[in-house]
Amino acid sequence: MTTSAHPALEARGITKRFASVTANDGIDFDVRRGEIHGLIGENGAGKSTLMNIFYGMLAPDAGTILVNGVPVIFHNCADAMHAGIGMVFQHYLLVERFTVAQNVLLGKEPARGMLVDAGAAAASVADIARRYGFSVDSSAAVETLGVGARQQVELLRVLSREPDIVILDEPTAALSPSEADTLFEVMARLRDRGCAVIFITHKLKEVARVCDRITVLRKGRICGTVDRARADTDALAALIVGDLPAVTTAQAPAPKGKVVLDVVGVHAAGSHASAGLRGLSLDGNAGEIVGVAGVEGNGQLELAEAIFGLRSLTSGRITVDGHDVTHATVPERRRRGIRYVPPDRHGEGLLLDFDAIENAQIGDQGAHRFGLLDNALGRRKAARIATDFALPHYDETSPLRSYSGGMQQKFLIGRETSDVPRVLVVFAPTRGVDVGAAESIYARLREMQAGAACVILFSYDLDEIRRLSDRILVLHGGEIAGELTPDQADDITLGRLMSGAHV
């Protein structure tokens, strides 16, 4: 480790424009050796643009990048890697069939003659893993791994190049709390070894917890950099959105309506390494938000899909308003008023190559006369979503791919709540969206609750669950491990239930 006075990586006056949009406007930013520097801001604030410039994927229109005080120009990622910069992207790029070691050493396999030295490869990956305290098995095939382990593989790949500067782009978006904790330990170890770490996230609590300094980006400009000591989440939230929307934490407990959703003793097979459902029962009442917490892979996805009709039950029964829907198809359940916001908006909820008019009709496409799409209705519905959620630059004919992630999520939620449903199943509704968007999504969920919908909220964000839910169910191993009121649901109690211990 050098003791140079220069920051490890520095941006001076970086400006980047796309057509009429200024994504980065005279950005000054630096990260020091042995520091975790948090970067937060709304979707579209320019975080990704700045990181892509750091990583050589975009060239700035103006400004300079300095590594250890020396100005550099990156023509591509290879230049940036050569300068000691490593980046872990939000979307993983892994070869499913390959083992962890093969993925980590892809393109730089240790050779013995013309053959890959598999033993040396496994050993060197295991060595890196041990140094940083990873738990992942280097001989496991990636297709068998969960989200957290996959991310470790991505991180291992970056660390195998021994970078001085590590950029993590929203690494915790898909992680459970315990997986996130593991990641934070790795980040701390990197810092202690003298690495400079840039940590991008939406979650204010995380930056306040793990970062040494925090920089807030808004509309392409730096709003300020604060030390951890002076950073509390409310102040940060205010910096991010400009002014903090009214927080609606303390609501009167909703009067308990009649039972809308009744799930009785359901069993279902699980995907990947998940437990599936093992005789789970729950009921949901009108005008109630039921939070479902749990470590990923304990049956949440299976339960959500079983309610919506995407997963068949091996036994058990599901009724909505007294009607048995156990064997009903998705369209039949939609007619009963079940709506679903799936966790994977790109892969399941939206067609990114289709325009807003057609996306507004997904799920209701068959409901019209003469077997034709009702584009007039789709147009009205899409326009209403755009107005309700104040989508910027809304253009009904451009493909949804051109929207930011937060806009896509608002569109999806808006579509599933365009009429007040009887049962609204929402899965990780604010994952990867900024504070402002999350607030408008929360407001919409409350509206649905006020309209007497039964909202089942699945989330890995415990604060979100606590803040919105009237009751909290904790899943473990495909069963309900416990039921709590929001007041009882402190981290320790939740954590014990989530890990399968009895309270």
């Binding site: 990622c77 679903y340 909820g349 799409l373």
Partner: protein, 347 residues
Amino acid sequence: MRWLVSRTAPVVLALVVGAVVVATTHANPLDAYAALVQGAFGSLEAVSETLAQTTVFIFAGAGLAIAFRAGLFNIGAEGQLVAGALCAAVAGAQLHFPAPIEVVVCVLAGAGGGAIWASIAGILRARYGASEVITTIMLNYIAALGANFLVAGPLRGSAFAPETAAIDPAAMLPPLVPGTRLTIAFPFAIVSAIALWWWLGRSVAGFELRTVGSSERVARYAGISVPRAIMRAMALSGALAGLGGACEVLALFHRFNAQLSPGYGFTSIAVALLARSNPLGVIASGLFFGVLQNGALSMQAQAGISKDLIAIIEGLIILFVSARWIGARLSVRHGGQDAPATEQLAS
């Protein structure tokens, strides 16, 4: 402008590389292409013949476009075309209705033959997950060899050659331009392509088909029956190829023989790819291949260039269309989203 450049770039590049190939044989590429254009457009007869040749490409190309949009790599247009042609020829020879009814019945027989042939692959894919690429290729061989057997034996209707009996004159499609082989099959093909384009964009079934092609997970989420959409797309795709084959019989050959299609079904893959799987675009790309097909003979006669040059250009076009797609995939760095190949080709 950019749109025009990106759509025509594969054609231009293929013609340029084709010219280089011609030049290596010490012939003048410009002479070759001039002879080709002359052969395709040089007279009323030439234009009529070009449009007659275009017909089968529009039918089969539009059918393949439908399959590609549903995410199905139907390689079996050749077999479906043969099945349709054989059914139309048998219906035309065996049935004897008054003229308009006879024509309609024979056309429907052709569409049905192609649809059934394609549905074998469609059902195998929808029910058992068998790759349609493999099954349609195998069904091509079965169709070709099966048809050879049938016209040599049970269905032989001619003493001189292995072919079916001539169709009833009532089944022959009336010519548009007297004295040429251009019949009402050509406008019928254009209307079919336009109708398909409209259906794909506006109907619920078309939307479901495109959704399945874009993402089967979204389709299931939207409550669409994926197997049904796949079977429907394959049947429709085969019906269109079958129509192409039927029109060859009813308009041009008036009987079925094994030489009926010199690989039109395979050329139609290039037609659909060049049109980016848009049925409207298929009209233009079908015409382009019709020009090549018809101009090739006079190119060979007048400029002394083998008509195999056409096969080279066709191969190059597929290569360049695919290269654009590969290039697009490579440039999406860290996009994370994996779309099926056929959908990429369709976009």
